[in-house]
C-alpha cells in the first residue's frame, strides 16, 4: 500500500475509532437516553465545585435530588483547582459556583456580575504540624516553613492574623504557597513544618497519624466562612425560581448533614464514591472526628461575617475595599435558619 493511502486510512480509522470509543465509554452516546419527561432536564445550569468538605452540600444535594425525584435540577461540575473553577465561571460555563468568599468579593470589585446567595459551610480547617515536632504555639513557627493555600483562602488570612496576634511579622515564617491536595505529603515528608487549608487535607494528616492540630481555625474564628455559593446576576434575574430551588435544596441538605451522625456517615460514603473519588474513610473521619469540625447549618450570609472578611482581606492587601456587602450579596434567596427543615431523605430511607 502506498504511503499516502496508508496515512489517510490510518488517520481515518484512528480518529473515527477513538471518537466512537470515547463517545461510547465517556460521553454516553449510545446509552439509552433518559426520557426527558421532566422537561426541565434539558436546560439545567451547571454548578462548579471542588472535592473539598467546604463544598459538600453540592454533591449531597445532587445525590438526594436524584434519589428522591429521579433527577437533579442542576449539573454539578467538579474542578481540581480554584483558577479553573473561577475561569469556568467567567466563561459562563458554570453560571453558579461554589467559591472562596474573598475570591467572589475580589471578582465583584473587578466588575464581574457575581452575587453570593448562600454559604457553603461554616468552620472546618486547621493549622497542622508534624506530631513529633516541637511546635506547640504560633510563636514556635518562627523561622519554620508553612504551606498556605492561594491568596484568596480565608485559612491564609486567618493565619496571618494569628501571626500578628503572636507579635510576629509575615517575614518571620517562611511561607510557601501550595495546592491543598499536595499539603499532606509535604507535611509527611517534612518538607514543610506546618500546613493550613480547608478540609479534608488537614484531617487526612490526623487520620494517618502524623499530623497534630496546632489550632483549629474555628477556635480563633468561631463560625468562620470560607466558601460560598455564588450566582451570575443574569441567572438571578432570569431564573429566580430555579436559583431559589437550588438554595432551598442546599439548605435542606445542610440541615440533613447536621441532623445526625448516620446521615454524615452515609454522605461520606456516597460523596466519596460518586463525586470526590476519595477514600470514604477520609471523608467519614473529617465529618465525624470531631463531629463539629465542619458545620452545614446557619448558612444565611450575614453582614457582620463579611465585613470581618473584608477587613482581613484588606489588611492582607488582596481586596481594595471598593465592594461591600450589598454589592456582592443577595440575601433574598437565603431562608432563615430556623425555617430550614432537614431533608426528609435519610429518615425516609432508614
Amino acid at each position: 500500500m502506498s504511503f499516502r493511502k496508508t496515512l489517510l486510512i490510518t488517520a481515518f480509522v484512528v480518529l473515527g475509532g477513538i471518537t466512537l470509543l470515547h463517545g461510547a465509554l465517556n460521553l454516553g452516546w449510545f446509552a439509552p437516553r433518559a426520557t426527558t419527561a421532566s422537561g426541565a432536564a434539558r436546560d439545567k445550569f451547571r454548578v462548579g465545585f471542588l472535592p473539598v468538605t467546604c463544598h459538600l452540600t453540592c454533591p449531597v444535594t445532587d445525590f438526594i435530588n436524584k434519589q428522591t425525584t429521579g433527577g437533579s435540577n442542576f449539573d454539578p461540575v467538579r474542578f481540581h483547582g480554584w483558577p479553573e473553577l473561577k475561569e469556568a465561571y467567567l466563561s459562563g460555563y458554570t453560571p453558579v459556583t461554589f467559591i472562596l468568599a474573598p475570591m467572589a468579593i475580589a471578582l465583584r470589585e473587578q466588575g464581574v456580575p457575581i452575587k453570593i446567595v448562600y454559604l457553603g459551610h461554616r468552620e472546618g480547617g486547621d493549622v497542622m504540624v508534624h506530631k513529633d515536632s516541637g511546635i506547640y504555639r504560633t510563636e514556635d513557627l518562627r523561622g519554620k516553613t508553612v504551606a498556605v493555600p492561594g491568596r484568596y483562602a480565608n485559612h491564609r488570612l486567618i493565619f496571618y492574623r494569628e501571626l500578628k496576634k503572636a507579635g510576629m511579622k509575615l517575614s518571620d515564617v517562611n511561607l510557601v504557597e501550595m495546592p491543598p491536595p499536595d499539603m499532606p505529603a509535604a507535611l509527611y515528608s517534612r518538607s514543610v513544618d506546618a500546613i493550613t487549608s480547608g478540609e479534608p487535607f488537614p484531617g487526612q494528616t490526623e487520620m494517618d497519624g502524623y499530623g497534630r492540630a496546632l489550632y483549629r481555625v474555628k477556635e480563633v474564628w468561631p463560625g468562620f466562612i470560607s466558601c460560598v455559593l455564588a450566582v451570575h446576576e443574569d441567572v438571578i434575574k432570569n431564573r429566580r425560581a430555579e436559583v431559589q430551588a437550588l438554595v432551598d435544596g442546599i439548605a435542606k441538605s445542610g440541615k440533613w448533614l447536621d441532623a445526625n451522625m448516620t446521615n454524615r456517615v452515609d454522605a461520606a460514603q456516597f460523596v466519596s464514591k460518586f463525586y470526590y473519588n476519595q477514600h470514604p474513610r477520609l471523608l467519614e473521619f473529617v465529618l465525624s472526628k470531631p463531629p463539629d469540625r465542619v458545620i452545614y447549618s446557619n448558612l444565611k450570609p450575614l453582614r457582620a461575617n463579611f465585613e470581618e472578611i473584608e477587613q482581613l482581606a484588606k489588611e492582607a492587601g488582596i481586596l481594595q475595599g471598593t465592594a461591600h456587602f450589598d454589592d456582592y450579596v443577595d440575601t433574598s434567596f437565603a431562608p432563615e435558619d430556623d425555617a430550614v427543615q432537614p431533608h426528609p431523605y435519610a429518615t425516609a430511607q432508614r
Partner: protein, 263 residues
C-alpha cells in the same frame, strides 16, 4: 575474537529485546528496593502500582481513561498536522511569508500549554475542546517549524530538476517540495506527537472528568492514592512508547525511507 553464535540474526533480535527488558527489570527492582529501604509509606512500590492498575482495569476506568486521553491527543494532534504541515511548506517556500510570520511563531512557540489553560477554559469551557485546543497548540509549532526547516534544507538539485521539467506551482508543491521534505516532516511529527502526549496531563487539568491526566490529578485529590498517580504516569509512558513505535512505522515506507541515514 568475535563470538559467531551471537552474530546470527536470531540472536541479534533476541538481544534487541533482552537489553531493554533487562534495563526495565533492573529499574523496577531498584525502585522497589528504594521504597523499601527508605521505608516510605507514601511512595508506592511497583507492586502497589501494578495493583492500582489492576483495580482501575477492573472498574473499567483504565480503558475509559486511556480512550479519553487518546481521543484528545488524536484530534489535537491531527488538527496540528493538518494546519502545521501546509503552513510549514508555504512558509518554508515563500521567504517573504517566512520573514513575516517567523517572529510571531517564535514568540508563540515557547509558551507552555499550561499558560494557555485559562484561555482554553474561557474559550471552550470545560468541554473536550479545551484539552484538544491545548494539545493542538503544543504540537502545531514543532510541526510547523520542522516543516519549514525541511523545505528550507531541501536539496536544491530536486528543485532544479523539477523546474527543468516545467512543473506548475501546484505540481511543484505536491510532487516535489512535499515529497522532498517528507522525511524531515515525519521526524518533526514524531517529536510533536511526543510533545502532544506529554501535555496530556496539563491539558486534562481542566475539569474534564476522564483521561490519564485526570487520573493523576484526581488521585492527588484522593488523599494517599499515590499508587494511582504513578499508575497514571506508567500508562502515559507506556502508551507514549507505543505511539512512537507506531509513528516509526511511517519511516519504513519507500517514499520516505531514503531520508533517514542508513546503517
Amino acid at each position: 575474537m568475535p563470538r559467531p553464535a551471537l552474530r546470527t540474526a536470531h540472536a541479534t533480535t533476541l538481544l534487541s529485546f533482552a537489553l531493554p527488558v533487562g534495563v526495565g527489570v533492573m529499574f523496577l527492582l531498584g525502585w522497589h528496593a528504594a521504597v523499601r529501604i527508605s521505608g516510605s509509606d507514601l511512595f508506592p512500590t511497583p507492586v502497589e502500582v501494578g495493583r492500582g492498575l489492576l483495580e482501575l482495569a477492573r472498574q473499567g476506568l483504565l480503558l475509559k481513561y486511556v480512550v479519553a486521553s487518546l481521543f484528545r491527543v488524536s484530534w489535537g494532534f491531527a488538527l496540528a498536522v493538518a494546519v502545521g504541515v501546509p503552513a510549514g511548506l508555504l512558509l518554508g517556500w515563500y521567504s517573504r511569508g517566512f520573514q513575516a510570520f517567523n517572529p510571531m511563531i517564535q514568540i508563540f512557540r515557547p509558551i507552555s500549554p499550561i499558560a494557555w489553560i485559562p484561555v482554553a477554559i474561557l474559550w471552550f469551557g470545560v468541554t473536550d475542546a479545551a484539552p484538544i485546543f491545548l494539545i493542538f497548540l503544543a504540537s502545531v509549532f514543532p510541526i510547523t517549524v520542522s516543516s519549514i526547516a525541511a523545505v528550507q534544507n531541501m536539496q536544491p538539485v530536486y528543485l532544479r530538476a523539477a523546474q527543468n521539467f516545467g512543473l506548475s506551482r501546484g505540481e511543484l508543491f505536491r510532487q516535489v517540495i512535499l515529497r522532498a521534505s517528507l522525511p524531515q516532516i515525519i521526524t518533526g511529527i514524531r517529536i510533536a506527537l511526543g510533545v502532544a502526549w506529554l501535555v496530556v496531563v496539563a491539558a486534562e487539568m481542566i475539569a474534564v472528568n476522564s483521561g490519564l491526566g485526570y487520573l493523576i490529578i484526581d488521585a492527588r485529590n484522593a488523599g494517599k492514592r499515590y499508587d494511582l498517580v504513578v499508575a497514571g504516569m506508567v500508562m502515559i509512558g507506556v502508551i507514549g512508547l507505543v505511539l512512537d513505535l507506531l509513528v516509526r512505522q511511517l519511516e519504513k515506507f519507500d517514499e520516505v525511507r531514503w531520508g533517514y541515514a542508513r546503517r
